[in-house]
């Protein structure tokens, strides 16, 4: 049985570009993103996978980067809000959030955008019920959600 290493090499795709980092097994994904790569768009809030502020996409699927270990990124694609802004195909979503004032303090917005992108990638024309169901794990303490739902609906229409 090989001795388990204390550090791990994590080679992965970050916002479309191949990158590599060395991390300890207990390092959460959010720490690697913020501290090693300087991508501070990903926000830590509840730290227990409830609020959604730290949402990133791992191979297209939303995960809580506060708790998912960094080593889970090995060989996979991570998308953060920074990569999102540079992605032309996603800009209707950013525009729709701005048009609808779908944020106030903005702390939940990176997670909201990534969750919404994941939804629209899977279902380009979601019903209001589907949007509410899909986004219910992302918490906003400012907007009351209505504007966020409207922004996702507008982005879906713009994308058609």
């Amino acid at each position: 049985m090989a001795e388990a290493p204390d550090t791990l090499a994590v080679a992965f795709e970050l916002n479309g570009a191949p990158v590599e980092a060395t991390v300890e097994p207990q390092t959460p994904l959010i720490d690697m993103l913020r501290e090693r790569f300087g991508l501070t768009g990903t926000k830590r809030s509840c730290d227990v996978q409830v609020c959604g502020a730290c949402t990133v996409l791992l191979d297209g699927a939303p995960v809580s980067s506060c708790t998912v270990p960094a080593f889970e990124a090995r060989g996979r694609a991570v998308l953060t809000v920074e990569g999102f802004a540079a992605d032309d195909a996603s800009s209707p979503l950013v525009e729709a959030f701005v048009n609808n004032a779908a944020f106030q303090c903005g702390f939940c917005t990176p997670g909201m955008l990534l969750a919404a992108k994941s939804l629209l990638d899977a279902d380009p024309a979601p019903s209001e019920e589907t949007i509410k169901d899909y986004m219910r794990g992302n918490v906003c303490r400012c907007t009351g959600y209505k504007k966020i739902v409207e922004a996702v609906q507008e982005a879906a229409e713009a994308g058609r």
Partner: protein, 292 residues
């Protein structure tokens, strides 16, 4: 979080050996959605985590006759979206969709949910009415237990220190059974979960499987309430029917409810009475429509 080493076995036997060698200093890691929170808060600490996901094939969902076999590293989302599960046991897909939130479902596993043995678990309750089986691997081979034999208390299971759950085997409900699941609560985890599956033949209830979870440390079948329903004519089982009231009363009496952050014993017993009748009515409304 206290530093740990990551061990990545390539087969089940290596994982069991690593558990045995660690003598309690290691824990199995699959989704980590519960384990890592407990480690972050300092409630648990391990020198080594053994990554179940590094074992090839354990994430598969496959058919064995009428049984769907869910591998130990299959996530809640994988189970929820699996075509076999959706077709043969839509209620399992429905309940998996209701677990935690999307991000937890994308990472957390069904097997991990069962093995962590948190008392407030929807799948642990639901799988009792499916009469699911569990394949347990250890250094000397594999054994099969029923899902009801796994959990022995809050965060406690009957697994030996060198054993791991490798597959959850869920048989489809027999043809003609209708089923429903209810959950209730205001916290991240459910306060109450009730699963009901009723077999109906010639307008009469021939089989009843009722399970109650979350209100007590361990989810359980409710045999006295089940007995009341067997032999009842379905057309008499409408809102307020005496058999439904009696089954709900017995369910509440047998609930073994305990006080916790979700509420007191009286409150939980009341919830059981209310939700048992509602769940039975919902199952009956699906009469002939299968479990979904």
């Amino acid at each position: 979080m206290k530093p740990f080493r990551l061990h990545e076995p390539t087969d089940v036997h290596e994982a069991a050996s690593a558990l045995a060698d660690a003598g309690g200093g290691a824990a199995l890691y699959a989704g980590g959605t519960e384990l890592l929170l407990a480690m972050k808060s300092g409630l648990l600490a391990y020198d080594t985590l053994i990554n179940v996901k590094s074992i090839p094939g354990l994430d598969a969902v496959s058919a064995d006759g009428d049984t769907v076999v869910i591998g130990a590293s299959a996530t809640h989302s994988a189970v929820e979206c699996d075509p076999l599960v959706r077709k043969r046991m839509p209620l399992l897909a429905e309940v998996e969709h209701g677990v935690a939130n999307l991000r937890v479902r994308n990472v957390g596993t069904l097997a991990g949910n069962l093995c962590f043995a948190e008392p407030h678990s929807d799948p642990a309750t639901l799988l009792l009415v499916y009469e699911a089986g569990l394949d347990i691997a250890g250094p000397s081979g594999t054994r099969r237990i029923t899902v009801g034999d796994l959990q022995t208390g809050s965060y406690e299971t009957s697994l030996e220190p060198d054993e791991l759950l490798i597959a959850v085997r869920v048989p489809a409900l027999p043809a003609g059974m209708c089923a429903a699941y209810s959950k209730f609560g205001y916290h991240h985890r459910p306060t109450l979960g009730i699963a009901a599956a009723l077999g109906v033949k010639d307008g009469v209830v021939t089989e009843a499987r009722l399970a109650l979870g979350c209100v007590s440390p361990v989810a359980q079948r409710l045999s006295r309430a089940e007995d009341v329903l067997r032999g009842e004519r379905v057309d008499t089982l409408t809102e307020g029917a005496s058999a439904l009231r009696e089954a709900s009363r017995l369910a509440s009496e047998d609930a073994d409810a305990v006080e916790d952050m979700h509420g007191g014993v009286d409150y939980k017993e009341h919830l059981v009475r209310v939700f048992m009748e509602r769940t039975l009515l919902r199952a009956l409304a699906r009469n002939g429509g299968g479990d979904g």
